[in-house]
């Protein structure tokens, strides 16, 4: 059976959830072979195996952390040459997309980004994507070379499917460009203790209507009562009320949770681009004409400072 490469996104061997989703998709196309770069392969391997990885190709070198993108492309290219895969799946992050594109070019292959589903087709993998701020859904395929596809978080269920998943060393020779862009320093993002925005089952967001940084406590309290991640519109981010890493939309994160609650957000096209595919959408806005209500499964026309705290109390009460 054909093998499918899955690029592992991890922090020192702690595998991030989107990679496990990729293993689910990879199993539809063939036998998943995970590619683990940097430290922690021995920690990651049992988790990858449990979710279907038949092998874990691992390489560790300081270059992966010290230089941007290209060393990882060199490693994936080596893996592709060794395995001759039927496809390569990479998580859709800023870095994941850059790695995938450069890899595709080197392999003489086409690239598809931001797939929300991948299935086996007669002429190779078929990727589902959202286009024009999720107004359209497309089905695409690679017509030349080894399909290289980046997949968004929350695109497939995480499934256990135990496989061998033994660690094998991957030989990597770095090319001339590998040390081109030096990472001079790195400041890790502080953990908020809340779920990762793109991976969360529930996202509670605030916009300009929240009116100030300190008022975001109202949004955070609701999020915490639901075990949700916190999002923000660009208006709230530009005003300096909430970090850009929490921005939802075209130039922020794209989320697709089970439940999205928009508070004081009008629903501009660029915001919708990042949340329109959420399963259930709820909006609280004092303007009955706000476009966000066109998307909402349930909407409350009212002042968020009345509605949201009441909702939070009610959630807490019901959860006991």
């Amino acid at each position: 059976m054909a093998e499918v490469l899955v690029y592992v996104d991890h922090v020192d061997g702690a595998v991030r959830k989107p990679t496990l989703e990729l293993l689910t998709l990879a199993r539809r196309l063939g036998e998943p072979v995970a590619v683990h770069l940097g430290p922690g392969a021995e920690t990651a391997a049992p988790v990858l195996a449990e979710h279907g990885a038949t092998r874990v190709l691992a390489a560790d070198a300081p270059e992966f952390a010290d230089y941007l993108v290209v060393p990882k492309v060199d490693a994936l290219e080596a893996a592709a040459q060794a395995v001759q895969p039927a496809a390569v799946l990479v998580p859709s992050s800023g870095e994941g997309k850059e790695i995938a594109a450069r890899l595709a070019l080197r392999l003489g292959s086409g690239v598809i980004t931001d797939a929300v589903d991948v299935e086996a087709g007669e002429q190779g993998p078929v990727a589902t994507q959202s286009a024009f701020a999720a107004a359209f859904t497309t089905k695409s395929r690679i017509t030349r070379g080894t399909p290289v596809i980046t997949v968004k978080p929350n695109s497939a269920p995480v499934e256990t499917a135990p496989a061998a998943g033994a660690v094998e060393a991957l030989e990597v020779t770095f090319g001339d460009l590998a040390r081109g862009t030096k990472v001079v320093s790195r400041t890790p993002r502080e953990s908020t203790g809340r779920p990762e925005l793109t991976e969360a089952a529930i996202v509670v967001s605030g916009g300009r209507g929240v009116g100030g940084a300190e008022n975001f406590a109202v949004v955070e309290a609701l999020a915490d009562s639901l075990g949700a991640a916190v999002g923000a519109s660009r208006a709230a981010v530009d005003a300096g009320w909430y970090p850009h890493s929490n921005q939802v939309g075209q130039t922020g994160k794209s989320v697709s949770p089970q439940l999205y609650i928009a508070n004081g957000i009008s629903g501009a096209i660029q915001h919708r681009a990042g949340m329109q595919t959420s399963k259930t959408i709820v909006a609280v806005n004092k303007d009955p004409e706000a476009p966000i209500f066109d998307l909402a499964d349930y909407g409350v026309v009212g002042d968020l400072f009345q509605v949201v705290p009441q909702l939070t109390e009610e959630v807490k009460a019901r959860k006991g």
Binding site: R102, I142, R189, T251, L311
Partner: protein, 261 residues
């Protein structure tokens, strides 16, 4: 010696319009008015700031696109870029990002560069991979997704705010940079800038000028294909209630009915 900056800008259908696919499943460029991609305004802005900080710099804006794409070049020129290159050829219709990166790489090499600046993503295709592809083709360092950038003594430095960490990056020129919408508001063209732009040179190139065979681009030369595009079904109208003092509780009731609590 003069710092040669090339900015790649795309002409895109206005995102606030009713964007669609044409019959051949390429982006319909007639249905909606086009403009300079808003995200590329940030690239032009950062190029202008880098040029202002350098003793001597020249900014060329480059686009690959249809006749109307000249509008995007004019806008960039009116913001302050010095000259423009327009790659236009009927054979380019339907080119995918791999093909576009080939054409842009040839155009940028034709122009000559020390620094290439791009936006973070186009607002129509939203792939965000062209900068990496262009760097790969040009064989120069990619210093991408920067929220802050500067160039000094032949070195480009910048900050990249990633998912897990914020990184300080550094590379030697020649290099390719892409900037995000966090890099700083783009300036509005002044009246003087708009008038001056009319006289600035725009060089038109076709595929043969760049030594590219038509079979390498266009729909036929694409390495990926869109087989289907369907309009997303309109979301079924939801329940909208007016808060009369119980809005939060009603919302909780809805969430409970959907098993969220």
């Amino acid at each position: 010696m003069s710092l040669r900056i090339v900015v790649a800008v795309k002409y895109v259908p206005d995102a606030t319009g009713d964007r669609r696919f044409a019959a051949d499943l390429t982006t319909d460029r007639d249905a909606v008015d086009g403009l300079l991609s808003e995200l590329d305004e940030y690239a032009v802005e950062q190029a202008l700031q880098i040029a202002e900080a350098a003793d001597d710099a020249e900014i060329t804006v480059v686009t690959v696109g249809p006749e109307d794409a000249k509008d995007a070049l004019r806008k960039a020129l009116s913001m302050g870029a010095h000259k423009a290159v327009h790659v236009e050829d009927d054979a380019l219709h339907g080119t995918d990002v791999i093909g576009t990166s080939l054409v842009l790489a040839k155009a940028v090499e034709h122009t000559g560069f020390d620094l290439v600046v791009t936006g973070m993503a186009s607002t129509d295709g939203t792939m965000g991979v062209l900068p990496a592809l262009l760097a790969e083709r040009l064989g120069v360092p990619q210093v991408t997704l920067l929220s802050q950038v500067s160039v000094e003594d032949g070195t480009v430095t910048g900050r990249r705010d990633g998912d897990a960490a914020s990184e300080q990056l550094q590379a030697s020129l020649p290099a390719l940079v892409s900037v995000t919408d966090q890099s700083g508001e783009a300036r509005y063209p002044s009246f003087k800038g708009i008038m001056a732009a009319k006289k600035k040179p725009v060089e038109s190139l076709d595929l043969s000028d760049l030594g590219i065979d038509a079979s390498e681009v266009g729909l036929g030369g694409a390495w990926s294909a869109v087989d289907e595009a369907t309009a997303r079904p309109a979301r079924t109208a939801g329940t909208i209630v007016k808060d009369e003092g119980e809005g939060g509780k009603q919302l909780a009731e809805f969430l409970a009915s959907q098993k969220f609590i």
